[in-house]
């Protein structure tokens, strides 16, 4: 009789994959009918405010984890009090970096978030080295390396390319010019990278869509690149409370204008992760 594959599988067959955190043994990987989700590198920079940049990175890390992405943050921000670890201090396992220099956050039911201090290296050189924390990148929806950049064009030029870049910017002319300069540097270094803009407003920016369209129109015309709009960050009392309590805003109970705006920006970005990049088709 011809040997046919079984139509069903017994518990013994599926348990190594579905019933434990351990992945299948190496020789069985070929039998999984879908490929592992790709790892993405996301660079976050705010040329005018490292503090708000790190605040955004901390919250985005949690939102990515909530959407089942494994997250590893490479933190290049300075000074110390403006770093991601400072803004998430209340959540850190052991209240600080461990012996390997990494800080870790483990919230119930979410993939672990690892924060790595990148200051000594000066620029991001890629996430695949031996010091990386494999336990941190166990997301079912794909893994993300979040680069909390040193917000300067030189950092982008010297670092490994990112798949996505998020630029936070004010809406004054010079802030927008600074933002455009970063777009140009990213575009020149990594033509296929996707670039996202979020405005940082002390109060809600009126007609922010119109401001964005002027910026993206100019970038499209001059640099032949598309830029995505994520929305406008709002500052209110809850943001200051988040700093004071060293806890990301998205974890606070109740609603606030700032939390609503921030969640909307993160959601739009995470949804956009599944869209094709520049030059990958529409």
């Amino acid at each position: 009789m011809k040997d046919r594959p079984k139509l069903g599988r017994g518990l013994r067959d599926v348990s190594p994959f579905f019933l434990s955190e351990a992945s299948l043994p190496e020789q069985q990987h070929g039998e999984i009918p879908f490929p592992a989700p790709p790892e993405r590198t996301v660079c976050v920079c705010h040329p005018s405010s490292v503090l708000i940049q790190s605040f955004f990175t901390a919250n985005l890390a949690l939102e990515l984890a909530r959407h089942r992405h494994g997250v590893q943050v490479w933190d290049y921000a300075m000074p110390d009090e403006h770093r991601v670890t400072a803004l998430m201090h209340s959540l850190l396992e052991g209240q600080g970096p461990e012996q390997d220099g990494h800080a870790r956050i483990m919230l119930y039911g979410l993939p672990r978030i690892t924060i790595r201090d990148g200051r000594a290296e000066g620029c991001f050189t890629g996430g695949g080295d031996a010091d990386a924390d494999p336990g941190a990148v166990d997301g079912e929806a794909g893994n993300c390396i979040l680069v909390n950049a040193r917000p300067h064009p030189d950092f982008i030029l010297q670092s490994s390319p990112a798949d996505d870049s998020i630029i936070l910017t004010g809406t004054g002319e010079l802030s927008l010019l600074q933002c455009y300069a970063h777009i140009k540097v990213i575009r020149g270094k990594t033509p296929g990278a996707r670039i996202w803009i979020a405005f940082d407003g002390q109060r809600e920016v009126r007609d922010d869509r119109s401001v964005f369209e002027r910026l993206s129109g100019f970038a499209g015309q001059r640099l032949d690149c598309q830029v995505g709009f994520l929305g406008t960050l709002v500052h209110d009392e809850s943001v200051e409370r988040s700093f004071r309590e060293e806890k990301p805003l998205v974890l606070f109970a109740g609603q606030s204008a700032a939390k609503e705006a921030l969640s909307g920006i993160c959601t739009r970005f995470i949804e956009g992760l599944h869209l094709p990049g520049q030059g990958e088709g529409s």
């Binding site: 503090l51 600074q178 007609d207 129109g217 100019f218 200051e240």
Partner: protein, 189 residues
């Protein structure tokens, strides 16, 4: 760690005094007088001079449209009465006969303010966004200039190297013409 959040100052006179202090310390202005004029003649919150120019300064503490109307009315009133005012305030260091510039300080401006004012006004003007933080008893002022009037026309005179240095964007390799085009495009509305 602390986020400097804006506070609302109930006492407009105090906001004007803080702004005047900033004008003196940061821009090197000499303040000539406070709160000249009235609701009918228009009012100038701060009258100041430097070595060359006269500055008519309005500090918006309420609605921007009201402040703008007040500033424009005060400007006309000043031009109609400047010889008299010069006789009153003239010293060796103060002359009110220099070219006048309107300064407007406001917590917020609509994005199109430049194109609107460039199209509508003939006068020289400068716009500043300010934020008052801290407490009413111990306020701190943060001011950012939006752009100077006439920048589009006088783009050739702009110190673009300084802009590049101040913004830290030398490495981006932006050409002079590219910066000018960008600023024009952002103002076009």
């Amino acid at each position: 760690m602390r986020l400097l959040k804006p506070i609302h100052m109930g006492d407009a006179a105090q906001v004007i005094r803080i702004c005047a202090q900033w004008l003196k310390e940061d821009l090197g202005f000499r303040v000539v007088e406070y709160r000249i004029g009235n609701a009918f003649t228009g009012s100038i919150d701060i009258l100041a001079v430097d070595a060359v120019r006269v500055y008519l300064i309005t500090v918006n503490t309420g609605r921007l449209s009201d402040a703008l109307m007040e500033a424009l009315t005060g400007y006309r009133w000043f031009l109609e009465n400047r010889e008299f005012l010069d006789r009153v305030y003239h010293t060796d260091e103060i002359s009110l006969l220099g070219p006048p510039t309107l300064l407007l300080l406001s917590p917020d401006f609509p994005p199109e303010i430049h194109s609107i004012l460039l199209q509508g006004l003939k006068m020289e003007f400068r716009l500043f966004r300010y934020i008052v933080t801290g407490t009413e008893d111990d306020p701190d002022l943060y001011v950012e200039e939006l752009a100077a009037h006439g920048l589009t026309e006088s783009a050739g005179e702009m110190d673009l190297d300084k802009i590049r240095r101040d913004l830290g964007i030398e490495a981006a390799g932006l050409e002079d013409e590219e910066i000018r085009d960008f600023l024009r495009s952002m103002r076009a509305g």
